[in-house]
């Protein structure tokens, strides 16, 4: 189990990046806060700098050194976020907690989520759903929206792809559905790996069964993370996958719809 308290380094939280003017992970204009630390090791992950909870540095040949991540206090994070409150307000946007896995250090996330809730800032989270539900239920209760992944319905395949089984993920998703919080289940779509009709249909049926307003988003694989692996000297961890065709994605969206789940997109 990852530690829940205290903070990884004194009172500070390792924030990989704060991306303002983020418009593809939730409604409106958002700020996405990438929190470092993750229990999964997805082989297509495009943010390998967030696997552990310390800043990472590296450089591409001939380029300057770049550092991902810095230690910030809750107050420092909030200072950056409240500057954008007017844009959240006008657009119906807010803050999106992402990672890494934002629930990896529940104490950190709790402090941040409470601070935003106190200021009336709407909040979404992007999560693997691999966390201790009992410990985190109060945090989930303060969120307005959840993006949760199901990388594969088969536990064995899931473990091969991410290093971890999916039992806890599916169990948390059931509980999430029961809370009634608005949610979208996402599938990072890898050609020939998890884009078969059987897996997608199973996922859709699971979503329909456990969510009142069942919605799914298919995210086709991209290789934009590759440069980062090279930069951080992590090339041996890099695996190349194939991007499913547009036609394949459209076909699977139709399949999802036929299972009674609404396909959505924030592109």
């Amino acid at each position: 189990m990852p530690p829940s308290e205290p903070f990884p380094k004194g009172e500070k939280i390792c924030v990989s990046q704060i991306q303002h003017f983020s418009v593809n992970d939730g409604e409106g204009i958002r700020s996405t806060v990438f929190l470092s630390g993750c229990p999964l090791r997805c082989r297509w992950c495009c943010n390998p700098e967030t696997w552990t909870s310390t800043p990472k540095s590296g450089r591409l040949p001939g380029a300057k050194e770049e550092t991902f991540g810095r230690f910030l206090s809750v107050a420092e994070v909030m200072k950056e976020l409240v500057r954008h409150a007017i844009f959240y307000r006008e657009s119906g946007g807010g803050v999106t907690w992402s990672g890494g896995e934002p629930f990896f250090f529940p104490g950190n996330l709790r402090a941040l989520v409470r601070a935003c809730a106190d200021r009336g800032i709407p909040q979404a989270v992007e999560t693997t759903c691999h966390f201790d539900w009992e410990e985190c239920a109060d945090i989930v209760g303060l969120l307005d929206f959840v993006f949760a992944d199901i990388k594969h319905m088969d536990g064995g395949v899931h473990e091969r792809l991410t290093g971890i089984g999916n039992e806890r993920i599916l169990s948390n998703l059931k509980r999430l559905g029961a809370t009634g919080i608005d949610a979208v289940v996402r599938v990072p779509l890898l050609s020939g790996v998890n884009d078969d009709e059987q897996n997608v249909a199973r996922t859709a049926r699971f979503v329909r069964e456990h969510f009142r307003r069942p919605k799914m988003e298919l995210l086709p694989y991209h290789d934009f993370g590759r440069a980062k692996y090279r930069m951080l000297g992590m090339e041996s961890f890099w695996t190349e996958f194939e991007t499913p065709s547009k036609e394949r994605v459209a076909f699977l969206e139709a399949l999802i719809r036929s299972e009674g789940v609404e396909p959505v997109s924030y592109r």
Partner: protein, 790 residues
């Protein structure tokens, strides 16, 4: 694509036609003046105007619904030797080859101008008088220097008028205006100096009214003549309708939407012939045209489609005529831009929302014909319908840069600040570029461009130009003698105040000459107040006389420069003042590391209070300083941070600056960040720009931002754009305009990344700076942008 075959073919002609100089107006003007020697100046001008109206060929081009042209060419550029002929003489041999805004002019025309036009005006033009009267120390800074620039006020007419259709032109028509002037003339005895001048004024108005009515009559006759020999029954019907419209307007009040459209064009045409003006604004078109539109639609005389076609025809007319300007002026106002600003949307006089069907039709017409005129502005109030904001966002997404988006409440606040009654303040329209304006006003809305970079340079170079070594500013101590940052900042403000003083001298000199030499009888009919006072517009006849606007250029670049001096010399002591100035003298050659540091200092446009607070202090100081001077009518001067293209030529005369900018590079425009230095997000740039106190900059403020096309490619994206606009305005800011990015620009950014550091693109669920991406990822994004899908 235009809404009809007719407007599409006119659009094609407009796109492919080359502007051609027409000597006709100048020839008629000259002949008339030869015949009126000794008469009162206003009367002479009016007679020349009437002669032009009576003698210019009345040409109706194939397919036109709105008619009237200022010369023999569809895209005619007229000459106004009464303002200046010397620059035309100097430049006309290279008119067709100059890089910015070329014109066609034949050898025969040039010969004619030299033999038949110029000789009469030698010694009589406004330009010659201005150059003779301008004090020498001001002339050093003001004449073709790029430091202070007001040549559009002595080589050209002023323009900067919004004709009053609401209360004067439409309700009265020119016959009644003429009759009123004639009655005043009869009732005014020549028994005092004032009354003698009044009589000249009323006399000039009578003549000008006769002139414009005669012009319309001649178009009516021409339409009738063409109709008689027209074989196509549809076109024949149109020509008969044109004949009817021109027989009616502008002599009488319009009765239909088509008549009102033709009326508007005759007023524009009259003004063009009278002085070749800049910024002759059609104003709140959707407001004053709506009653005609609504009544016609209600009566079944007009469909929305036909209304759109008429509006498109009018847009093409606005775009076809060409503002003839010197190559120097063309650098400041690039792109054949006549700045006929047309405003739609916004609150009515009573404060209720005024958006109507015509507001949407105007947006649609601009999207359809893609003409550079009218300059389309929208007013967005906090009560603006979401549908309208969405329609505005959609037009932005087409990437044409229109419309200019304005904060309704901020505009009204600026006018209140300038002394307007609240109802009038609410009824503002845009003038020229981004100047909040009201139609019953005489105002030089763009009197002088003031180069802020020069003030920075003189402060750090003992009052001398870094490029020429000439003493230009106030004498100043050697830079190494500054012992604190405050001393540097104060030296800059002193130099700035000195430039403002000279800008005032140049303006007063020009204003006085305008009163004496170039009265405006025709435009005086368009502005309320002149008739009642018996005073020409140039002599303060308007209801409101608002002080001239001094436009500051380079706010961002001087804020950055002061921030760099503070950080490098005084806070971190990375270098001494002497070393910094040596680097500037060397244009940073051999000072790569210091320049890196200078570039890394805080930059305006990133929501960084350290530098943004300097921009606020400088802009407030500029406001207080300009406001402390008064013009010939006793009105306080006004300040502005407008754009146009003036930040390019003003940069060419300035050496390297402490912010890391190289010598001769452009300055920054309006309240926009220096190009490429707002590397955070457009939201941060908006927050920085909103820290300037917009409400006191009564001459307008301008913010240009770049946006990736993809961000606004979906309904969600369009809603987000609308939200950005509302958020920016709720921070109190006045104007924003967006450039959306095409593949060509992404390619340019690859080639010259230093100029595109602010270019934001969406990568994968987030957006980031394009130039910060690896080459392979850039290629991926270009591929995606081209296919507009993912």
């Amino acid at each position: 694509m235009s809404s009809s075959e007719r407007t599409e073919s006119a659009r094609q002609e407009y796109v492919h036609g080359t502007p051609s100089v027409s000597c006709l107006r100048a020839a008629i003007w000259t002949e008339s003046h030869k015949e009126t020697e000794g008469e009162a100046t206003p009367v002479r001008r009016a007679k020349a105007f009437a002669a032009a109206c009576g003698k210019l060929p009345a040409i109706i081009f194939p397919g036109e619904l709105i008619v009237g042209v200022s010369g023999e060419f569809r895209r005619s550029a007229i000459l106004t030797p009464e303002f200046s002929w010397t620059w035309v003489d100097r430049e006309m041999d290279s008119f067709d080859t100059r890089p910015q805004d070329p014109y066609r002019m034949s050898p025969q025309q040039r010969e004619f101008a030299r033999s038949a036009i110029w000789p009469y005006w030698k010694g009589k033009s406004l330009e010659e008088a201005f150059l003779k009267r301008l004090p020498e120390d001001t002339a050093r800074l003001l004449v073709d220097t790029g430091i202070l620039d007001n040549d559009s006020k002595w080589r050209q007419a002023v323009g900067e008028v919004t004709p009053d259709y609401q209360d004067v032109l439409f309700p009265k028509g020119y016959r009644r205006i003429r009759d009123e002037a004639a009655a005043h003339l009869a009732a005014t005895k020549p028994d005092s100096l004032e009354n003698l001048e009044r009589r000249d004024f009323y006399h000039s108005v009578v003549i000008a009214c006769d002139g414009i009515m005669r012009l319309a009559e001649r178009y009516s006759e021409e339409a009738m003549r063409l109709a008689e020999k027209e074989a196509d029954p549809v076109r024949r019907g149109e020509l008969l309708e044109i004949a009817g419209n021109c027989a009616r307007v502008p002599a009488e009040p319009p009765r239909t939407f088509a008549e009102a459209c033709q009326f508007v064009w005759f007023v524009q045409l009259g003004a063009i012939l009278s002085e070749n003006p800049l910024a002759l604004n059609p104003g709140r078109f959707d407001q004053y045209m709506y009653p005609y539109y609504a009544a016609d639609v209600e009566a079944g005389r007009l469909t929305p489609e036909r209304a759109l076609e008429l509006v498109e025809c009018l847009w093409i007319k606005f775009s076809e005529w060409v503002w003839t300007i010197s190559s120097n002026t063309a650098n400041y106002f690039a792109g054949y831009n006549q700045f006929q600003n047309l405003t739609v949307g916004g609150r009515k006089r009573d404060g209720s929302d005024g958006t109507n069907e015509l507001s949407y039709i105007c947006l649609k017409a601009t999207e359809g014909v893609k003409t550079h005129q009218p300059g389309l502005s929208v007013r967005i109030s906090s009560d603006c319908p979401d549908d309208f904001l969405m329609a505005v966002s959609k037009l932005v997404a087409t990437g044409m840069g229109f419309p200019a988006i304005h904060n309704d409440q901020a505009g009204a606040q600026m006018l209140l600040q300038a002394g307007y009654e609240p109802e009038d303040a609410r009824d503002w329209n845009n003038c020229g570029c981004v100047v909040p304006h009201f139609r019953k006003t005489g105002e030089w809305t763009s009197a002088v461009n003031v180069n802020f970079g020069a003030a920075m340079e003189y402060a750090l170079n003992e009052g001398k130009s870094r490029l020429t070594g000439e003493p230009m500013g106030l004498p100043e101590r050697a830079p190494e003698e500054f012992v604190s940052f405050r001393e540097v900042a104060d030296a800059f403000l002193r130099q700035l105040a000195n430039l403002v003083e000279h800008a005032v001298v140049g303006t007063l000199t020009a204003q006085k000459l305008h009163m004496e030499m170039v009265p405006r009888p025709f435009l005086s009919t368009c502005v309320d107040g002149c008739m009642q006072k018996g005073k020409d517009l140039s002599r303060g006849g308007a209801v409101y006389n608002v002080g001239p606007v001094l436009t500051g250029i380079g706010l961002g670049v001087v804020a950055n420069s002061l921030a760099a001096v503070k950080k490098l010399v005084f806070d971190e002591k990375v270098c001494t003042m002497k070393e910094l100035c040596a680097a500037l003298d060397a244009d940073w050659e051999g000072y790569d590391e210091l320049r890196e540091r200078a570039l890394a200092a805080p930059k305006y446009g990133n929501d960084d209070d350290e530098v943004d607070s300097l921009a606020r202090e400088i802009s407030d100081f500029y406001y207080r300083t300009t406001r402390s001077h008064r013009d010939v009518f006793g009105s306080p001067f006004n300040s502005a941070f407008m754009g146009i293209s003036n930040y390019v030529p003003t940069g060419k005369v300035i050496g390297a600056l402490p912010c890391g900018r190289k010598a001769r590079a452009p300055l920054s425009e309006g309240v926009s960040p220096f190009a490429g230095t707002d590397v955070s997000t457009p939201l941060a740039a908006m927050r920085s720009a909103a820290k300037v106190n917009h409400d006191v900059q009564t001459g307008g403020t301008l913010l240009n931002l770049r946006l990736n096309k993809e961000i606004v490619s979906t309904p969600r994206g369009l809603r987000n754009l609308g939200a950005m606009i509302r958020a920016y305005f709720s921070l109190g800011a006045f104007h924003v305009q967006f450039n959306t990015i095409s593949t060509g620009e992404l390619r340019a950014a690859q080639a010259r990344p230093e100029e595109y550091r602010d270019l934001l693109v969406r990568v994968a669920g987030y957006s980031t700076q394009f130039v910060n991406l690896s080459r392979e990822m850039q290629e991926a994004i270009i591929a995606r942008t081209e296919h507009a899908s993912f």
